[in-house]
């Protein structure tokens, strides 16, 4: 079975079929990550689609130098796209989709949709960078080093964001108690 690195080499040579293989291989993890960050499966898919368009353009223009692993690079594009989308959503004050409304062609159960929208409701007040860091650490199970590589910051900055995010969640809980 060809590796993702081989697929990347074929994409650079103009093989669009290789990009389809890359999407098939990586989209389940990326869509789960984006859904957790956005608090909506549909919004998560929109973010991942935008991220793939950016990734394709970058590959064709030779902007992926291969210094980081392809997974790390794709995670970085998805998280940056998600942060931009969260900021834009905050400006537009858009509410997330109703979890009770079924999305056509989406195989996720209503319970999964509810759990995803619970994240949006619970972490909604966190600044995008803190929210993404908390999702990567606690829901995706990545190490601080991996998160630092994805978010292009120091491990200290990751730890600081986690402390602040948890403090905000505690404060929120105190307010609700």
């Amino acid at each position: 079975m060809p590796t993702l690195e081989q697929a990347v080499a074929r994409i650079r040579n103009g093989d669009i079929g290789a990009f389809r293989e890359l999407v098939d291989e990586t989209s389940p993890r990326l869509c789960r990550l984006a859904a957790r960050i956005m608090g909506s499966v549909a919004d998560g898919e929109d973010v991942v689609q935008d991220a793939y368009i950016k990734a394709y353009g970058a590959l064709m223009q030779g902007r992926f130098d291969g210094r980081s692993h392809i997974h790390t690079w794709l995670y970085r594009i998805v998280t940056n796209t998600a942060i931009t989308a969260l900021r834009s959503r905050a400006r537009q004050r858009r509410v997330t989709d109703d979890p009770a409304t079924p999305v056509p062609g989406n195989p996720n159960s209503p319970e999964t949709h509810l759990a995803v929208s619970e994240i949006a409701e619970w972490m909604g007040a966190l600044p995008p960078e803190q929210r993404v860091t908390l999702v990567l650490k606690t829901l995706e199970g990545l190490t601080s080093g991996e998160i630092a590589a994805i978010m292009d910051c120091s491990e200290g900055a990751v730890e600081q964001r986690l402390v602040r995010a948890r403090a905000k969640l505690r404060e929120r809980q105190r307010y609700h108690d």
Binding site: G14, I16, F19, R20, V23, D24, S27, P28, C31, R32, A35, R36, V41, G44, E45, V48, Q49, Y52, I53, Y56, G57, M60, V103, G105, N106, P107, N108, S109, E111, T112, A115, V116, E118, I119, W122, L134, T138, L139, G141, R166, L169, R170, Q173, R174
Partner: protein, 92 residues
């Protein structure tokens, strides 16, 4: 660790578990490929860009060789002129 901290960690663990099974829609890959296709440059355009990446260094090398040849030719030409003008003076 306070009770609130434990509550937060427990809730995070529960949400991680209950969102573990999130999968993309059935036609997600098709949707991405259609979006990419609509944004792609025309085939001839990308071919020109790819070819120009190879052609540019070759053209730069050819230009350097041509410049060196032109400088060398100029010297030869001037030398030839000097000799012929000298000959003309002698004959005149």
């Amino acid at each position: 660790m306070t009770d609130r901290d434990q509550d937060i960690e427990a809730r995070l663990t529960r949400l991680a578990r209950s969102t573990e099974a999130v999968v993309p829609s059935e036609w997600f890959t098709d949707r991405v490929m259609v979006a990419i296709d609509s944004k792609r440059e025309p085939e001839w355009n990308s071919t020109i860009v790819r070819m120009s990446r190879v052609a540019l260094p070759v053209a730069a090398l050819a230009a350097s060789i041509a410049l060196m040849w032109a400088v060398a030719s100029e010297h030869t030409w001037e030398e030839a002129l000097a000799v012929s003008s000298g000959q003309t003076e002698l004959e005149w």
